[in-house]
Symmetry: C2
Subunit: 196 residues, 2 copies
């Protein structure tokens, strides 16, 4: 575990998917922010509903990006995308050398996740990725509000807390994740407001 000195204008990639419907490819959007303030760039790829490709697609999207050299951390909206396409944040950290924080407004209910996963033929592989994703911590970046839940990979809990605090705006969810959510939603639906 590394503990970083975090600059307020740290360059961060926020990642979220769009809604899935039928067998269409699902957009996966990465938004590059400096801290919680400046929209610096955007990446887009496509993943498969209930597929197993989100980890490879995310790694490839970031690796081939001109933004790679400047990025310091990746923040994702949870670890399941496009249904049950499970993101292996340990592999993302190992292959890109960038820490990852998966954030979520609700506490992941492992029992429910496992139950839902069992509808998929290769569920043990997906469950294994989820189990290896590390501990979930509650974090309260905004006083007097409900906590959010984070899974830090490649950094300690304290550093993860600092990063969430530097990258959130008026919402408790980091701005780049909130904006990635809106963009990915609008690509599919033509409109989105407010965000994650």
């Amino acid at each position: 575990m590394r503990h970083f000195h975090i600059k307020p204008e740290i360059r961060v990639l926020g990642v979220d998917d769009g809604p899935h419907s039928g067998s269409h490819p699902v957009p996966l959007v990465g938004v590059v922010f400096r801290g919680n303030r400046w929209f610096e760039g955007i990446l887009k790829t496509e993943i498969t509903k209930d597929g197993m490709d989100v980890t490879d697609k995310l790694i490839e999207m970031v690796k081939t990006s001109r933004q790679l050299g400047q990025l310091r951390i990746i923040i994702t909206d949870g670890i399941t995308f496009a249904g049950f396409n499970v993101l292996d944040i340990r592999r993302v950290f190992n292959e890109l050398g960038l820490p990852v924080i998966a954030v979520s407004r609700t506490k992941p209910n492992m029992r429910d996740i496992k139950k839902a996963l069992k509808n998929l033929p290769d569920w043990p592989r997906r469950w294994d990725i989820i189990r290896r994703s590390g501990k979930v911590y509650a974090l309260r970046p905004l006083r007097g509000t409900r906590p959010i839940y984070v899974q830090p990979m490649g950094i300690d809990r304290k550093t993860a807390k600092q990063i969430v605090e530097h990258t959130r705006g008026r919402s408790s969810i980091p701005e780049p994740v909130r904006v990635a959510h809106m963009v990915a939603t609008a690509i599919v639906r033509g409109e989105s407001h407010g965000g994650a």
Copy 2:
């Protein structure tokens, strides 16, 4: 011409298109910001390369949006989209009741535009829209930098200047337009940085 009292957190829609290639539909993206700071929502539609549909598509996109009631102004990246699909900002103002500011980094060269337009069969109709779009003013929102060029429709020049000053960030181009440019580009190319 109306002169408004402009709040720094005015709700503004920034509009730009993505790059066009072949006969594919071209994305037209509208990003809703509060002032130069908060990404509040996003709208997306599609227009035709060298078509005549951008005015109808933009009006429809805004009219059917949940954002309509809060919007105070529309800022567009120039008035030609997807090649020579010319936006009728006078009609946008009349039909939506929202002032429009077309902004551009370079001074529109009317002679060159007319010459290029003449390659299209119905060029007089397009040229007529351009001629009725009002006067172009140079504006210097950032001291010591080159001016940008604006065409205000439905507001006076002084109000337009204030709005550009409230909505720009570190660039002289208003943030919602800069971000709409990046999003529309990434939808087509999978990546975009820095913006208009």
